[in-house]
Every structure is written in C-alpha cells, then in structure tokens.
C-alpha cells in the first residue's frame, strides 16, 4: 500500500511535470478557435456553395433550399417536396438510389424547417462526386409521377400529420408560431389537418413548387469535410441544367409580430408555451444578442447530470418535480421568437407557468444578480458556438445564410455580440418583452391549464 503522504507527493510531482511540459503559448480552451470554423464560399454559374474542410474520413453534404413552410404557397408543399427527395429520377429508380447509397456506406436524409428544406447525405470522403451528382439529379431530374405520390409520398404525409397530432409539444409550438406571426413563419411546420393531401397536393403542384425550390439562387450546396476545390469542381460539373427561375417565386413579406392566446384540448399530455418577440438572425436586421442571454438566463434545462440545474426557471420548476421547462430563442431570417415551453402533468404545468411569469417579472424589475447574468452570458455564448459547430446545425445555418442573405452565418460575430451584452440591456429587454402582447398556447387538459390573463400576461 502506498502511504498517503508519499502518494500525495508523487501526484504533486507528476502534476508539476505535466504543467512544465506544456509550451508557454499554449492556447487556453476558452479562446475561440476560428480557423476552420467558417465556411469557404463560392459561386458556380449562379449556384452558391460553401464548404469547410474538417479533417476526418467522412463528409456531410446538403442541399439547402429556400423552400421551408414559410415560403410554401399551398399547405403541405414543403412536406410533399421533402418526401419526394430521393424518389426516382430520370436516370435511376428510388430503389437503385437507396441500394447504391447503402453499398457506399452512406446515409441519406431529408428534413425541413420553417425556412429551409434540407436534402442531405453523409458518406465517406472519396464518394463526393457520386453524391454531388445525386443531389443534382434530385434537384433537376426527379420524376414527379402521380403513382409515386399516391403510393409513397401521400402515406408519409398522412403519417407526419398523425405524428403531429399526437405530440402536444409540436402542436403548442406550431400554435404559438401561428399566434405570433399569423401567415409566413406562422404556417405549421407539419400538416396540422388533412386538407393538404385531400385538397391541395398532387404530383403536379409539387412539381411546380420544386421548379421554384430548385431554381438558381433559391438553393445552396453546403459540404462539411470536403476540400473546397473538389466541391467547386464537381458542383460546376453536375449542376449545369438548373433553371434560372422557377414557375412561382418564393416570397414571404416582412414578418410582423401579433400575439394572442390559443387553447386546444388534448387527451394525452399537457404543454404550455409562453412566447415573446425575439431576435432575428445576425444578418436579419433585428438582431438582439440580449435575447440569447435572456434565454440562457431563464434556461430550464440542466447542463449537468443528476441535477435540475441552476438556471432561474429550473429553480422555479423544482417546486413541481417531473415538469420539464425549456427556454429557447428561435431565430429566423427576419424575426424571432423567445419561448418557454412547459411540459408535464396538467397541475404542475399550471403551477410552473405561474412561476415562469413571476421570474420574468422579477428580471424586468431588476431583481437579478450580476453574477447570474455573467453566467447566462457565458452559457449563451457556448450554446451559440456549440450549435454552429455541430455539423447539421451549421449546414442549415450556412445554407440558409447563403440563400437568404448571400453570406454564410457569421458565427464569430454573433459570439462577439453576445459577449458585449450588459446587465442593463438584459433587464431592459425583459421589461420590454412584457410591454408586448404575449403569445400563449395551451394544449392539454384545459380545465387545469391557466389562461394568460390568470398568469398576469397581456394578450
């Protein structure tokens, strides 16, 4: 057995040696490493692309199109177009696409958000040309056949609809966006009724939407882990017959904030969302870094294990164990939404909602320590940088930035902006939030869930 004193001395010596071994100019972990963080951008005869060469054997490639639910001119178009991706093209069938991707060890994925439609693939680095060609085929040569719509696409849309109806969280979020922004950004993210596929959608309407979504200037190619010169070569080679403009233009007017209250009865689960006007993206003209700090300050989710966390809302929620609270600043190109989502049993959701409003009012009243704001600022900066570093997050941000503003997302600058937020700004923003009409949506047991009026919010 080692005696305690001798072990201690050894440990101390080892520690000293370790410290000496480090060069004096070693970069601390907290300093931002921005060299490979940003994307290189380019333009191949009107098609924007961006890449970032992260060392590693795999590549993630995505086509980010400005065809999110915000820009669809009939309900369900985005969903329909998403489900049509990788179906059959003029050159190969859906089955062949899937089998070939499987043989190359790749993964195909499609998603959409309120502003973008993302058609992507993850694969081994050497297969870049194959997948650039595949994306070009999806964009320009997909066959929008009626039987594919009836046999494959429509059942998937119907499933998305059912999934949406089963989730109180999704319903509440969709409802709160509708209250806050009405049309445009307020369009539900997933089909909220069966009208899209019973009334509006068929293969022809989706094809027309596709011709706009995959027209020059409406989409960008973003790669993570590919050499920029390679990507530019292959994009130039394969994306040659992209139409310069589609049938209908994808437009959405400048978003305006409205606010209001909506209550939806639901049998399984209880969710309340309290939302306030937030911050647009950095390039959007309504950028407010204070909102990100305020979101981190309210928090709700724990960033460490086995603890409910130390943010204001997690402390408030600890009185109602089992309830989950989360604050998020949803950022869109020209507007944003700061929302608190509360999910749990009806009674606890009602109790927590009271606490949340109390907390926001206390911040607005200035009853908040400087230390808490400092902590929130660090967390907000970390979350921002971390989100930009994850591959899928950064792909979407970069693609959307290229398509909407012509610039990739400026991660370093947003991080810097968050660093510059002062205590007063946060308090002032919290106060100004309460001046607006809030958007409050309750889904679940309406007998227990409170009205916004009862919470003391203005709607």
């Amino acid at each position: 057995m080692l005696s305690r004193s001798s072990f201690g001395r050894q440990a101390q010596r080892a520690l000293q040696r370790q410290c000496r071994a480090q060069p004096a100019n070693r970069r601390g972990l907290a300093a931002p490493a921005s060299g490979s963080f940003n994307y290189d951008t380019g333009d191949a005869s009107g098609i924007k692309y961006a890449s970032r060469d992260m060392s590693g054997p795999t590549t993630t490639l995505a086509l980010v199109s400005k065809a999110g639910t915000r820009y669809q001119y009939l309900p369900g178009l985005t969903e329909g177009l998403e489900k049509y991706a990788y179906r059959g093209t003029e050159r190969r069938s859906a089955l062949r696409i899937v089998r070939e991707a499987e043989l190359l060890g790749a993964e195909l994925q499609t998603t959409h958000s309120r502003e973008s439609l993302i058609v992507g693939a993850k694969f081994l680095r050497d297969d870049l040309p194959y997948f650039v060609e595949l994306l070009a085929e999806v964009a320009t040569k997909t066959k929008y056949l009626p039987h594919v719509y009836h046999e494959e696409v429509m059942p998937l849309i119907a499933l998305a609809h059912k999934k949406f109806l089963a989730s109180t969280k999704e319903m509440a979020l969709s409802s709160v966006h509708g209250l806050a922004f009405h049309r445009g950004l307020g369009t539900p993210l997933y089909p909220s009724s069966s009208t899209p596929y019973t009334k509006y959608l068929d293969a022809d309407t989706i094809e027309e939407f596709a011709s706009a979504a995959y027209a020059k200037g409406n989409f960008a190619i973003v790669a993570n882990g590919a050499e920029h010169s390679d990507l530019s070569k292959w994009v130039g080679e394969f994306f040659t017959d992209v139409p310069s403009s589609g049938g209908q233009s994808l437009q959405s007017p400048q978003t305006k904030y409205y606010g209001g209250e909506e209550r939806i009865a639901h049998g399984s689960g209880n969710t309340m969302v309290l939302a306030f006007p937030g911050s647009s993206s950095y390039t959007g003209g309504f950028y407010k870094p204070e909102i990100a700090v305020l979101a981190a300050l309210l928090g709700g989710e724990s960033s460490i294990k086995w603890s409910s966390g130390f943010s204001l809302l997690s402390k408030a929620a600890s009185k109602n164990p089992g309830v989950s609270v989360k604050t998020k600043s949803a950022i869109y190109s020209d507007a944003g939404l700061l929302y608190v989502i509360i999910h749990g049993s009806a009674k606890q959701v009602a109790g927590t909602a009271q606490e949340v409003v109390k907390t926001i009012k206390s911040i607005a009243g200035g009853e908040i320590s400087k230390e808490d704001i400092m902590k929130a600022r660090a967390l907000a900066k970390f979350k921002e940088l971390e989100h930009g570093q994850t591959i899928m997050g950064s792909l979407e941000l970069t693609g959307a930035g290229l398509v909407q503003g012509g610039k990739p997302y400026q991660l370093d600058e947003t991080a810097k902006a968050i660093d510059g937020v002062t205590e007063d700004q946060v308090k002032k923003t919290a106060k100004s939030l309460l001046d607006y009409r809030a958007s409050v949506s309750s889904v679940g047991d309406l007998f227990q869930l409170p009205f916004a009026e009862e919470l003391g919010l203005k709607v």
């Binding site: 069938s93 089955l95 062949r96 089998r99 043989l103 009626p146 039987h147 009836h150």
Partner: protein, 129 residues
C-alpha cells in the same frame, strides 16, 4: 403480366412486318372483342399482383373508361348482341393503355431482383501517392 410475344422480333424486321401485318389485323378483328367495344388491353387477366398494381396506377379517366367498356361488353354478351357497326372499337382506337404500365412495373421488379442477386466486390485499394 405481358405474354410472350414475337411482336418485337417482327417489328424490328420491316419486310417481315409488311408480310405479317395484314394477317395480324385480320386475326385481331376476327377474335371479336372489338365488336363488343373492348380494347385488347381489356383482355389482360387481372389475377396477378402486377396487373392489379398497374390498374391502380391508371389515370382516373382511363380507369373509368375501362369499367364502362367492360360493363357494356358484359351486357352485350348477356343479351347475345353485338354493338352497331359505328360504335364498335376501331382498330386505330385499340391502343395499349395498360401494357406500358405493366412493363414499367415488371422492369421495377426485375431491377429489384437484379439488385438482390448482385455480388459486391471491394474496390481495389488506391495506390499510395
């Protein structure tokens, strides 16, 4: 569910086609389905998965017309009558509307079987640069 046929072989050889076409025309007419107002594709047996799927893929108008022709033929057959001459199916209207769909589905199935039977070989390793 397309039947084995020599038509491809014959069509590729114009001299043979010239020789056989009148005989084919006579045969199609003599088989009598046109006198009941049917098209050749209406006679394809429905009892197979492929044809059922092809029928589902028919555009609504085509599907409606097909049912109409069949019901009319059924009535005629029950009452032991033929259509008046001007209502009978004309040879130029007797076009294949279902066969292309069936062929497409058969091609899909064949592709699937080919892919199932595929032997995967590993790419040779790149020579070290």
């Amino acid at each position: 569910m397309s039947q084995p046929s020599l038509s491809g072989f014959i069509i590729r050889r114009p001299w043979l086609r010239r020789w056989l076409q009148p005989m084919a025309n006579w045969y199609a007419d003599a088989s009598g389905y046109r006198k009941l107002g049917l098209k050749a594709d209406d006679l394809i047996p429905e009892e197979s998965e492929t044809v059922l799927l092809a029928l589902k893929r028919l555009p609504p108008k085509e599907a409606y017309d097909r049912v109409f022709r069949m019901r009319r033929a059924f009535q005629l057959s029950l009452s032991h009558q033929l259509l008046p001459k001007h209502e009978q199916m004309k040879p130029e209207e007797d076009t294949p509307y279902l066969t292309p769909l069936i062929q497409e589905i058969e091609a899909e199935l064949k592709e699937r079987e080919d892919l199932e039977a595929m032997v995967v070989k590993k790419k040779p390793a790149k020579p070290a640069a």
